[in-house]
Amino acid sequence: MRSLQRTTQASGAPSPSRLVRDSSLVWLASGVVGLSFGAISVAGGLPVWVPVVMSLVVYAGSAQFSTVGVLLAGGGPFAAAATGLLLNTRTAAFSLAVADLLGPGRTARLLGAHLVTDETVAFALAQPDPARRRAAFWISGLGLFAVWNAGVAVGALAGTALGDTAVYGLDAAFPAVLVALVLPSLRADARLRRPVALGALLALAATPFAPAGIPVLLALAGLAPYGRARAAR
């Protein structure tokens, strides 16, 4: 993202092609993960329309994987939905963080809300000014929605032809994408570093014990020193 800032600062204007280029790798990786989601769902015995419709109306990768996992394990619809909802509670916090990028119209706000995902929020917040944050949100959001759903549909139809996607190392690409996107904020604001480190440690410590979705929420407790440091100023 650093190079992106440099270029756009030099030209003085938002650069959509740069945003598209940087987004496209995330799209590509998400598309392949979508393929595997479609394939896994159908291989597990669900009809083709289930992963396809779920991806369109839920549109949250990790929650979809866990919900289908519980369904296939015979966990019942409410346990399955609860698992996914727990994972998605964080989107409420993310939607607050990007709320000013979704306007101004009512339709844009209702549409934009559906596009709030980890990657798109990270991509938008990594931009240096509101105009570019807005552009990044919509470019990343719409592209990701299209590619994710296309990937899921193809995966559901093609079944397990793709094989084990772990071979491609994509599971390492997603955390690395988030590293690249949060680094500029961490470089710019030293007061963020302690809450971020504390939050990550809390989440890691809770992961073996807490149900999926909870550890990441616990990380917000890391904000306590941030609030205090602010109040002391």
Binding site: A63, F78, A97, V196
Partner: protein, 104 residues
């Protein structure tokens, strides 16, 4: 099939409700600057917690060595201000290469 439809519907409606929290409050409630700043910081805290748990854990246990090694490679590249594409491909490439070499 009704169970599946129920699960999808509950998850879809609930998730969309979470996503509407921000846009619904925006413009209606004037958030104080301090809270606004805290929300932005909260987003970064959540993203780093996600990437840490995503890099190291899988289903509540250790994810194996290949994935964290790949993420570390990507993080180092990002630290050295490598272009975004190099970070993404570097992380995936290192994890894939380690797996091809037999490292889980």
């Amino acid at each position: 099939m009704n169970a599946t439809v129920t699960a999808i519907l509950v998850l879809a409606v609930g998730t969309y409700a979470f996503r509407l929290v921000g846009p619904a409050l925006h413009g209606r409630v004037e958030l104080p600057d301090r809270l606004r700043e805290l929300l932005a910081a909260g987003a970064v805290v959540l993203l780093v917690a996600l990437l840490a748990t995503g890099a190291l854990t899988e289903a509540g246990g250790f994810a194996g060595w290949a994935r964290p090694a790949g993420v570390l490679a990507g993080a180092l590249l990002a630290w050295r201000r490598a272009p975004f594409a190099v970070v993404v491909l570097g992380a995936a490439g290192v994890a894939a290469a380690l797996r091809a070499a037999g490292v889980a």
